[in-house]
């Protein structure tokens, strides 16, 4: 029914969606401007790829990818917990560079710039998800579970405290809430899902290298969060679908080969600008990014 091309795009939508809703938990709901999200994605991808190449079952790789990223999230929360806004952004950005440097230079483990090729496709109870349609089903299931877990979290009392921290941390602390612990949990959970997305990416593309996890890769994810609207999961879903799929119809316009690349990017950028001009708070934004 679906073509391989469309299936591929939908898989990418799923991976970006997990990345974006997990970033939304930290940025939109907790107010933590975290630019280290792509590092958690990388940690998940590398843990999963290395374990899978060592012969570990896929589901363990997936869970350990999430757990490894979550532990890194907790670790990152320790020194950055008292930081806010730009300072937090800068510190978490530093974390991205640290992880990038590790993946690039710890060559005995990661093969550095040579990357890790031949990452096996996921398999569960003897069934190998080698067919892209099967992989799409798997991605859809994991994305749906991730969405509902995060939705549950943000609508729970814990989620309300996170929103309170975002709006006024001091007042939340005065009310007796341990904001340090809450923010650490939020960053850890957010990192967990980024790790899961990283694992999916590694097993789908079957090759990863450090250049797949640079700051540049974070830009589309942040764009999804901002265009979807801060603290809106619904907006994030719509933005993820639109931003991943939007450039694709432009492939069919039929520009001359010399202008095909730049023209697509210019049109894409213009469309994004238009969205932000007419919807400055994003599609369903509840708060403004400070």
């Amino acid at each position: 029914m679906f073509s391989a091309y469309l299936i591929h795009l939908l898989i990418l939508v799923g991976i970006y969606l997990i990345l974006a809703i997990s970033l939304q938990l930290a940025v939109g709901f907790t107010g933590l401007l975290n630019l280290g999200h792509i590092a958690f994605y990388a940690i998940g991808a590398y843990i999963s790829a290395l374990l899978a190449l060592a012969g570990w079952p896929w589901w363990i790789c997936l869970l350990l990818a999430g757990t490894g990223a979550m532990l890194s999230g907790f670790l990152l929360a320790l020194p950055t917990n008292k930081l806010k806004g730009d300072y937090l952004a800068l510190a978490t950005l530093g974390f991205t560079f640290v992880i990038y440097a590790i993946t690039l230079n710890w060559t005995s483990l990661t093969r550095g710039p040579l990357g890790l090729p031949g990452i096996p496709k996921p398999s569960l109870f003897g069934f190998v998800f080698s067919d892209n349609f099967a992989f799409l089903i798997l991605t859809a299931i994991i994305t749906t579970i991730s969405y509902f877990i995060i939705k549950r979290i943000v609508s729970s009392p814990f989620g309300k405290v996170l929103e309170a921290i975002r709006d006024d941390e001091l007042a939340t602390r005065v009310l007796g809430k341990n904001t340090f612990k809450m923010k650490t949990y939020a960053l850890g959970i957010s990192a967990f899902f980024a790790g899961i997305a990283g694992s999916l990416y590694a097993h789908y593309i079957t090759f990863i290298d450090p250049s797949s996890f640079t700051l540049l890769q974070l830009i589309p994810v942040i764009a999804i969060v901002i265009i979807g609207g801060l603290a809106s999961l619904r907006g994030t879903v719509i933005a993820a679908i639109i931003l991943v799929l939007l450039p694709e119809p432009l492939r069919f316009i039929g520009f001359p080969s010399s202008v095909v690349g730049p023209a697509r990017q210019i049109i894409y950028a213009l469309l994004l600008l238009l969205i932000l001009i007419y919807k400055p708070k994003g599609f369903y934004g509840k708060v403004e990014l400070e």
């Binding site: 073509s3 795009l9 990357g115 090759f207 010399s258 690349g261």
Partner: protein
């Protein structure tokens, strides 16, 4: 949220998905039974776009000359794995692709899995990792391997009698591959080795550190060479460099031609002007208004490879193993592993020109 908004968003998403579906919905009929349909996945934007464009120019120049029964479907990979994969999937789904042509390891390695899935040959260029073609029967490489480059450079250093050599390489897949091969083949001692990141432009400290070695085996890109030679001049050093085609590329020569001394490079034979390459260079300048860089001859030869495959009449994988012709880069053929074994030569840059040192 009001219902109108929900309906509006649903409509937008349906339009996008519907547009995509319509665009790729029905696989196109094969243009003609005799025509070879080729997916060309190259970087047309991003940091590698100058090389991608140069390759494309060579490809199209040969097409214009040969007027072959080939249809090129050109897509931008942006030098990214995901983009390259998306572009290739779109073409494989919407066209009757016979062969995939791609550029760079980062894009070509993931594409190989896709080529295997569709059982289509993947002919790559600018991929140096030695093991690339060993992974699949669908992998073909029209480019010298890291081992070829580095072993020739090491043999040259051995012949010159250098005992102490430093290594200075860009910290990426290409730099790492050639560094390891050089270390395996060089018989003297490596007194200093250092890697630099792609954005690096200041080499003054490292130039001082390596100045006690007899020569430096170094691999970087155009912009690194411009900085390295300018800074070598600034520091008054006469360090001997042994490198590859990037060091003597058109861009580097146009910037610092007078500074290019004590510079030896392992390059494909197309870098040096011969009767064959002169004709190509003249045609290239006539069409594009500037001189070709080292990638363009690979694009040019690629069209000849595809033309030979089309004329062979057999299945593309079988035909690729059977072709043999004289191209700009020497005799082009593919062995049982899909390697073209492009011959390399050693040249020296001197007094604003380049001359052959050894074949």
């Amino acid at each position: 949220m009001n219902k109108t908004k929900i309906i509006l968003w649903i409509i937008i998403i349906v339009i996008i998905i519907g547009g995509l579906w319509y665009g790729q919905g029905k696989k196109a009929e094969k243009e003609s039974k005799n025509k070879l349909e080729v997916a060309v996945i190259i970087p047309l934007t991003g940091p590698s776009s100058p090389e991608g464009e140069d390759f494309l120019n060579g490809l199209l120049l040969a097409k214009e000359k040969l007027n072959p029964d080939i249809i090129f479907y050109i897509e931008d990979s942006q030098g990214k794995a995901t983009e390259g994969l998306t572009a290739a999937k779109k073409l494989l789904d919407t066209k009757n692709i016979d062969i995939i042509v791609s550029f760079q390891s980062l894009v070509s390695i993931p594409l190989l899995a896709l080529a295997d899935q569709y059982n289509k040959p993947l002919v790559v260029t600018s991929v140096a990792q030695d093991e690339f073609t060993q992974k699949s029967k669908n992998a073909f490489r029209l480019f010298p391997t890291a081992r070829q480059y580095a072993s020739m450079a090491a043999e040259f250093a051995n012949k010159k009698g250098y005992k102490n050599v430093s290594i200075l390489t860009v910290h990426d897949e290409y730099g790492e591959s050639v560094k390891e091969q050089f270390k395996k083949n060089f018989k003297g001692s490596i007194v200093h080795q250092e890697s630099f990141e792609i954005p690096e432009r200041d080499f003054r400290t490292v130039l001082i550190k390596i100045s006690n070695s007899e020569a430096v085996f170094s691999v970087g890109y155009n912009i690194h060479w411009v900085s390295l030679f300018k800074q070598r001049e600034e520091l008054g050093k006469d360090t001997i460099f042994i490198s590859n085609q990037n060091m003597v590329s058109q861009l580097v020569r146009s910037e610092i031609d007078d500074l290019l001394t004590n510079a030896y490079a392992v390059v494909p034979s197309s870098t040096l002007l011969s009767d064959t390459t002169k004709e190509f260079v003249d045609e290239y300048i006539k069409k594009y208004g500037h001189e070709p860089d080292w990638v363009a001859p690979f694009g040019y030869d690629m069209t000849f490879v595809l033309d030979a495959v089309q004329k062979n009449g057999k299945k593309p994988i079988e035909a690729l193993h059977e072709i043999r012709f004289e191209g700009l880069n020497g005799t082009i053929s593919f062995d049982e592993n899909g390697e073209s074994n492009i011959p390399l030569i050693m040249i020296q840059a001197k007094d604003g020109s380049i001359e052959l040192v050894e074949k």
